[in-house]
Each structure stands twice: as C-alpha cells, then as structure tokens.
C-alpha cells in the first residue's frame, strides 16, 4: 500500500491541507535525491513504493543521548562538560538543543526548554504562513516577540534573537548538523550493506567511515547508521516511519530527588507534539511548590545546568521495514571516496572551546 502523503512532524496542524501536501512533497523529494545519490541502498520512499503487509517498526526505536558526545570526549569533568554544553547552541549537535531560564538573584534554574524540531519545517512554515510563525514564537518562547525580530526584508531568520542562544529561548534546531536532511541522508546511506575485502562491516565506526555519511564523532549519526545497517543486512526494505522527524523519546529521572518527595517526572511536559512523538519539552516546577528546578538533585548533585537534564534525555527516530528477507540488493564491495582506513578529521578541544566562544560552522557530508 502506498502512503498517501508524508505528514508534518508529530502530525502538527500548523499547515493548511495544501501546505501539508507541499511539506509531503519536500520530504519525498529529499528522500528521492538521496536515493539517486546512493547505489546499493535498501531504502524506499513509501509514497512511491508500496509498504507490504509484513511491515514492522523498530522496537525499541533507534535512540541516543541528547548530551553531545563531542563535548563529553573533550571535557575532563562533569562540571566542565555541563558548562560547555550549556554555553552554546553550536555544540548541541545530537538533534536536541536547549535554553535555560534562571532566577535573576539566586541564579537558580527555573525552566529548561528542549527542542528537536528541524529547521526545514520552520523555514517552510515561515514562507507559507509567517503569521503562524509569529504566533508560535509568542506562544512558546515569549509573548513579546515581534515580527521584525523574526523576519528581515520578509525573510525568516532562524537565528533570530529568540532562537540563537542557550539563555534567550529556543524554538527549533539551528546547529548546522541538526537537520531533517541529515537524518534522511544518514538513513539512506547507512542502508547500504558493505562487504570490504570479504569482510561484512557491522561496526558503527567502520560503516560511517566507509559510507561517508554524518559525523563520526557524535552519538547519534554512527548509532543511527549502525541500526539502519543492521536492518539492511537482513535484506529488508527500510524507511523512516511517517511522520519523518526527530523526536524527544523520554526523560529518565533515575536518581532524581525532589525536596518535597514528589515525583521529579511530574515536572516534565511535552508541550509540542505528543508523548510518543515529542518535539518540544519543558522541565519546570509549577509556582507554589516552594522549590524550583535547581532544588532537585540528581544523584546528590543539585541541578545547576540544563545539560545535566540533557544527560537523561533520549532522542529517537523510528525506523520501518518491510519485504523482510526479500529485499535482495547486492552488497557494495567498496567504500565511498577515500579508502576504508583513511584518517577522518576529528574536532579538537580547541575547536570545542572556539565553538563556545564564537559560532563555528560545521558541514555535514
């Protein structure tokens, strides 16, 4: 059966029906572009190729930690890595970005907002319905947002002052690697089974370096690639389940203690999307409880950084497979571009520090 159209992320209702059709066309064209560029893939476009009755979705979904691995690798202690991750949206590159609000006098955290919404959705919405964009910013970020804050000469600025920092608010992803295009590129490219010199590649790092997709030093990209490739090795036809997006999977509050003994999970709320398809989440203690976020401890540590919460958040994509065992595609016996064991550029601690002090531009392959 063919999928009629790709729905907006989390089945959001921001678009009119014609606009939803345009969004579907965008996703479809993005997939088709990747399919054309990748020989030997096991991926399919469900609006153009039937999904057969044996369809299954990945259970559990493909998920990873929201805290950026690159910051973790280059930081000697928890406090240093939390400080760095909270310092700039440029280092929040696991398809989850956040902004922290604090009491002005005590500096205690009162709210942390997390998003996994891709920039493409917002640029599309801004083109077709700028009024809606303004309404959403006022609803979710700050009621004082003005149109002139978001649009310059009629063009939407995704890095506007309400969405470009870790303290002034967050609406959607802006880190250059955090895009839906990247997600689709990785999924398609990773669906190629590779057998190099007779050896079947199964290791995440071997796959991402041979397939030249994504960024090898993140948690997300190698893991997404590894899980997609595992499906491909079972000779299945693979796609990303509709609606195509990156979702906030869950917050674990293992080891968290609220000062009044209440359940710390009570203060976590998906505010855009659904509990199963979360796009935007807020962690905040309601007024009147007598304490704020920073009064909650995690394994004995008070919450002093939004990044401490990011440690416990997972982001997911939902894979889908059908034609199980029947989607026969020849294994590829070479790698893309460079030979298998060529060195790959690795961001250094200095680059992380530079990213903290001044925005850096990273290009995904």
């Amino acid at each position: 059966m063919l999928l009629t159209q790709f729905d907006p992320p989390a089945f959001l209702d921001d678009f009119t029906p014609p606009q939803k059709a345009a969004w579907s066309a965008f996703i479809s064209q993005t997939i088709d572009r990747e399919l054309t560029g990748n020989t030997g893939h096991h991926f399919y476009n469900p609006t153009e190729t039937d999904t057969t009755p044996d369809v299954v979705t990945t259970d559990p979904p493909i998920f990873w930690t929201a805290f950026p691995r690159l910051v973790q690798v280059n930081s000697p202690s928890d406090r240093v890595r939390w400080t760095r991750a909270d310092g700039s949206r440029e280092v929040q590159d696991e398809y989850c970005e956040w902004s922290v609000e604090r009491e002005p006098t005590t500096h205690k955290i009162t709210r942390v907002t997390f998003t996994s919404e891709g920039p493409e959705y917002w640029s599309t919405l801004a083109r077709v319905n700028p009024t809606k964009v303004l309404d959403l910013y006022r609803q979710f970020v700050n009621p004082n947002v003005q149109s002139t804050d978001l649009f310059r000469n009629g063009r939407y600025n995704p890095r506007n002052k309400w969405n470009n920092s870790t303290t002034g608010g967050v609406m959607h992803l802006i880190q250059p690697n955090n895009t839906l295009r990247a997600e689709i590129n990785i999924a398609v490219a990773a669906s190629i089974v590779r057998r190099i010199n007779g050896e079947l590649l199964t290791d995440e790092q071997d796959l991402i370096n041979c397939g030249q997709y994504g960024q090898a030093e993140r948690f997300s990209d190698p893991h997404i690639g590894g899980e997609i490739n595992k499906l491909a090795r079972q000779q299945t036809a693979i796609t990303i389940a509709n609606p195509v997006a990156l979702y906030i999977r869950d917050l674990s509050t293992a080891g968290w203690v609220a000062p009044d003994g209440s359940n710390p999970k009570d203060y976590w709320q998906i505010v855009r999307g659904t509990p199963q398809l979360g796009l935007r989440a807020v962690y905040e203690v309601p007024p009147g409880k007598g304490f704020v976020v920073s009064d909650i401890t995690i394994n004995g540590n008070p919450i002093e950084f939004g990044a401490q919460i990011a440690d416990f958040i997972t982001i997911k994509i939902i894979g889908q497979a059908c034609r199980i065992g029947q989607n026969i595609v020849a294994d590829q016996t070479s790698c893309v571009g460079q030979p298998l064991f060529a060195a790959v550029a690795h961001p250094t601690a200095a680059m992380i520090d530079d990213a903290v002090s001044a925005p850096a531009i990273h290009h995904h392959r």
């Binding site: 044996d54 299954v56 979705t57 259970d59 559990p60 998920f63 990873w64 930690t65 691995r69 973790q72 690798v73 280059n74 930081s75 000697p76 202690s77 928890d78 406090r79 050896e199 079947l200 199964t202 290791d203 995440e204 790092q205 090898a216 030093e217 948690f219 190698p222 893991h223 590894g226 595992k230 499906l231 090795r233 079972q234 299945t236 674990s252 509050t253 293992a254 080891g255 968290w256 359940n263 710390p264 999970k265 394994n299 004995g300 540590n301 440690d311 416990f312 997972t314 497979a321 199980i324 065992g325 060529a342 060195a343 790959v344 550029a345 690795h346 250094t348 601690a349 200095a350 520090d353």
Partner: protein, 542 residues
C-alpha cells in the same frame, strides 16, 4: 507486532562451553552447597554470619504474621514469600508479571554485555553473552528488580537484586544452577565488619549494583557507541529471543545503576547518622583512603579506529568526579587526555598488547575501545559525597586526605596507609560525627615521629591550613600537575610511561574478583613485577 527474522551468522562459531558464568553486574563467584530440589523455603546464606544455608522460616508463606521476615522487597513479597521458587530465568520473569489488568512490575528492559561481542564476527572464538534484565512499575524511574543471568542457559545461574522499601536497602539473592533461592544479605551488610568483602560483597563492595564499564563508551556492552551485532551470536535461541532483539543500549542502564548507587548509599549513611555512634568506621571511610573497588574506563576511540587522536580517560590522571563535582575545585579547563594516535599505537605495539581467551584465541592489539583502566568507583565517590553531605566527615577533612598523593586516584600506597588512624567508632552529636577530628588528631599525634615527606606529614600540612587556603593551594597543585601531564602527552616517552602505569594499575585490578573473564583486559609483554605510581611532575616511577 512481527519480529524481524534474525540471520544465522555466515560462519558457525562454537558455542561457549564455559558454563556461562553469571553477569558481572552481579559478579559474585562463591558457590553454595547444593540443596534438595524439594526444599521450598527461602534459604539464607550470608558469608561471615552463616556457616551453611539455613531456611528462613519467618519468610515462609505459612509463617505467622507476627514472625518478622527481613525480606520486604518486591521479589520476596510477590514471588518467594508466596511459595513460588522459579527454576529458570523464564519462570522468574513470568513470576513478576502482574495478573491480567493489575498494576505491577510490568515494565521490562534487557541489556547485553560480552567481552567477545565486538570482536570481528568472522573469527572463530568461544563467545559468551550475559544479560541484565530490569523490572519496574510504569511510573517508577528506578527498577525495583534487577536480574543478571547468562544469555545462553535459561536454567543457569541467576542473581537478583531488589529494593526493600522497609529497610531502604537492596536485598541480594542468588539461585545457582540446580539450586534454591538464597538471600545473600543487603546493602548494609557490605559495610559491617563481619560480612564486608565476603560472598556477594567481594564484588558488590558497597552493596550496590556493579556495572564495571559504567560510563561512555561502555566497553563490552551493547551501546550507542558500539553494538553487539546479531551476526556475533550463533545461538538461535539467544539471537531470536525478545530479550536480545528488544534489548536497550548500555547508555540507558547507566542512569539506573547510578541511581541505585546514590539511593542505596544515601539511605545507608542516613541510617548510620540516626544512631548515637558510628561503628564499622573503617569500612565506611575506606573509599576516602583506599581503592576498595573501581570502575573501568576507556578512551572514547576504538583502539583500531580512524581518529587522529585518542583520548585517555580523565579518571586515569585525577579523581575529577570528587575534586570537581564534589569539592567544586577549578581544574585546568583545557585539560584533556588527547594523544596523537601514532604515539598510542606505537606504545601498544612496543608493549605487545594482545587479547587472549586462554584457549587458543589471540588477537594483537588493545581492547575494542583502547586504554581501558581502573578509575575511582562511582559508588566510592558517592559514598564520599554522602559522608560530607550528611556530616559524617567534614569537607576540609576529606580534601586533606584526598590531596595526599592526589596524582594517584587509584591504588595510592600513601593514602591507604592513613586508614589505620580512623578510630573504631565515631560519636554523633547535633547531627554530626567526630570522626574527622578524631582521625586527624591521631595523625597529628603520630606525624612528628614519621620521616620527612610521609603521608602523615602531608595530611597534617593540609589539615593545618585554613579550608579556603587548602582549596586554593589544591587548585594550584592540580593545575601544575595537569600542565605537566599535557606536556608529557605530546611525547612518545610520556605516552609509553602512561601505558606502563595503566598496565600496572590493571594488574592490581586483575587480582580482584571483578576480573572474571580472560578477554576483559589486554595482555602485554611488560615485566611481572610492574608496580608504578604517578608523580606530581607527571612522570612515572616505582
């Protein structure tokens, strides 16, 4: 929902014939005497207290209600005390399933670990896989039941921990293959002199779950950093089981283990501080002075990877968790253990690194993620934090101790020698104990009679300072040390020295009961009598 067809590996690999020793997370190695299958009591066998297993008649399902049974965790209450004694892991999991429609411990997650799981799938080796299974209520963050078992033997060895909300401790249970369910003690017994370090507490030194490779990249675990691919598992029943196909990644287990460590240790210390005095003081304070247990931490990079640099784990150099997270000291912000990969690879080759299973398999090179070393344990650091938070000891006392030989975060001979001065009891008054002052005074009294440069004199020099002055000087010393290390990490000689030091520390760990599997640690050609320490100038010596 349909399950995926899981492919058979293209090359058949011999099934492990090792007997599939129980998961390291529960890794006790002592075995019980065999019991008659018809014995339907919960047995108790706590090493240090019991000379043989004894039936717990107070916990029998027919026992009068006024007989106190010390087991009130979900495993005891819902299963064992109802006269249900599951014979295998399948029955154990079924026993925890709530009756239809009722709330209960229905949320199940599984995790897999294997020292051979990330070896190339096409090599011939006996592989064994272990699993950890958790059960929780839907609205609970921490699973009240944690189970460990070999993946390939459903009727094999089972170890289980369950949280007892009445006494606020984890109860430890074991069911050896063919044996009966036995209670092995609880968290508090890990600290009591009679039972500390015995039975289950040989491995679970602090009475909490043990996940050796606790932090990223979770070497040996199926994780978001490295998977255990289905092709690595020849046995259909393992590979096609939902426990494997629906397994989660180790990054999801880490917060659960840390959460139980924090919960159990916090409760244990709280309990101690409600009394008039603290007894068993040396087992309680031991992590401040000695390395009673460790975690294992590696580089985030594969030993045979593509990155131009390899990061050595920070915990190898300094106990950052305590100095930075507990004391809030400013360490060198740009410190990282990054070394040029060619320097690391040269050291690995020079010292003849290899992995061997002891039955003929030998692969040159380091562990999957390189530079696997013992680091200060999460449970030990948690205990230090709680002892400070709950005024068992003071901030200043703890820092005065930890700054002695601070360049050796584990296996410090100097610091361990100070444990002897901790008195046998500590008195509690107005919510604080006098252990810090009593221990400090004992060291102050003896120090003048010790040689120059002794650990006692070092401690006294720290203790005598104003707390803010000590903090300031500690920061300066640590930063000077870190700068020295950074310089050495740029040289082959420096990397070689740190590789030798890492091996020296691994050998100390290798002598403990946590070293259960031959593929866990690499072999090297370094001398047998390797015994090295890190010096404040970043050099390595005996």
């Amino acid at each position: 929902m349909r399950r995926f067809l899981i492919p058979r590996p293209s090359i058949m690999i011999n099934r492990s014939v090792s007997g599939l020793i129980a998961a390291v997370i529960m890794g006790c190695t002592a075995f019980l005497p065999s019991q008659a299958a018809e014995n339907q009591n919960i047995l108790r066998f706590i090493e240090g207290i019991d000379s043989a297993a004894v039936p717990m008649k107070a916990c029998d399902m027919h026992a009068p209600l006024n007989d106190p049974c010390p087991l009130n965790d979900p495993w005891a209450v819902l299963v064992l005390r109802k006269g249900v004694f599951p014979k295998d892991i399948t029955a154990a999991l079924e026993a925890l399933d709530p009756p239809g429609g009722q709330p209960g411990y229905s949320v199940q997650h599984s995790f897999f670990v294997s020292e051979s799981g990330q070896l190339p799938v096409n090599i011939a080796i006996n592989r064994e896989f272990r699993m950890v299974i958790t059960r929780s209520k839907p609205d609970e963050a921490l699973p009240a039941v944690l189970i460990a078992a070999p993946a390939g033997q459903r009727d094999g060895f089972i170890e289980l921990m369950s949280w007892d909300p009445t006494k606020k401790a984890l109860n430890f249970y074991r069911r050896p293959k063919g044996g009966e369910w036995t209670w092995k003690g609880d968290t508090r017994m890990a600290f009591q002199v009679a039972t500390a370090g015995k039975g289950c507490f040989q491995c679970h030194v602090h009475g909490t779950p043990v996940m050796k490779e606790l932090r990223s990249p979770w070497n040996n675990w199926h994780s978001q950093a490295a998977s255990i691919p289905p092709e690595a598992i020849p046995a259909d029943d393992i590979r096609t089981s939902p426990l494997f196909t629906q397994k989660l990644t180790a990054d999801a287990l880490e917060p659960l283990v840390k959460g139980w460590i924090s919960t159990a240790i916090t409760a244990m210390v709280q309990d101690d501080m409600k009394q008039d005095q603290i007894v068993d003081t040396r087992t309680l304070l031991r992590p401040l002075f000695e390395t009673d247990t460790v975690n294992l931490q590696s580089s985030h990079q594969r030993s045979k990877g593509f990155s131009p640099t390899v990061d050595l784990p920070p915990g190898f150099f300094l106990n950052f968790d305590v100095f930075s997270n507990v004391f809030g000291l400013e360490t060198l912000p740009n410190f990282s253990g990054l070394v040029d990969r060619t320097l690391y690879a040269t050291a690995v080759e020079k010292f003849g690194f290899s992995l061997s299973d002891g039955t003929g398999f030998n692969q040159p090179g380091d562990t999957h993620f390189g530079f696997l070393v013992p680091v200060p344990s999460e449970s030990g650091n948690t205990l230090i934090r709680q002892m400070i938070n709950q005024q068992v000891i003071t901030h200043h006392f703890a820092l005065s101790v930890l700054m002695v030989d601070f360049t050796n975060p584990v296996y410090s001979k100097a610091r361990s020698g100070l444990l002897q001065y901790v008195p046998g009891t500590g008195h509690i008054q107005d919510g604080r104990s006098d252990l810090a002052e009593k221990t400090a005074q004992a060291i102050v009294d003896i120090a003048p009679h010790t040689p120059a440069g002794s650990p006692e004199r070092d401690f006294v020099a720290n203790w005598a300072k104003d707390p803010n002055q000590l903090r300031s000087e500690a920061e300066k010393k640590m930063q000077a040390y870190q700068n020295a290390v950074l310089q050495r990490l740029k040289t082959q000689e420096g990397v070689n020295d740190y590789t030798r030091l890492a091996e020296s520390r691994r050998r100390r760990f290798a002598a403990t009961t946590l070293n259960e599997f031959p593929l866990l640690l690499p072999q090297t050609n370094l001398p047998e009598n390797l015994d090295l320490q890190m010096l404040p100038d970043g050099s390595v010596g005996p």
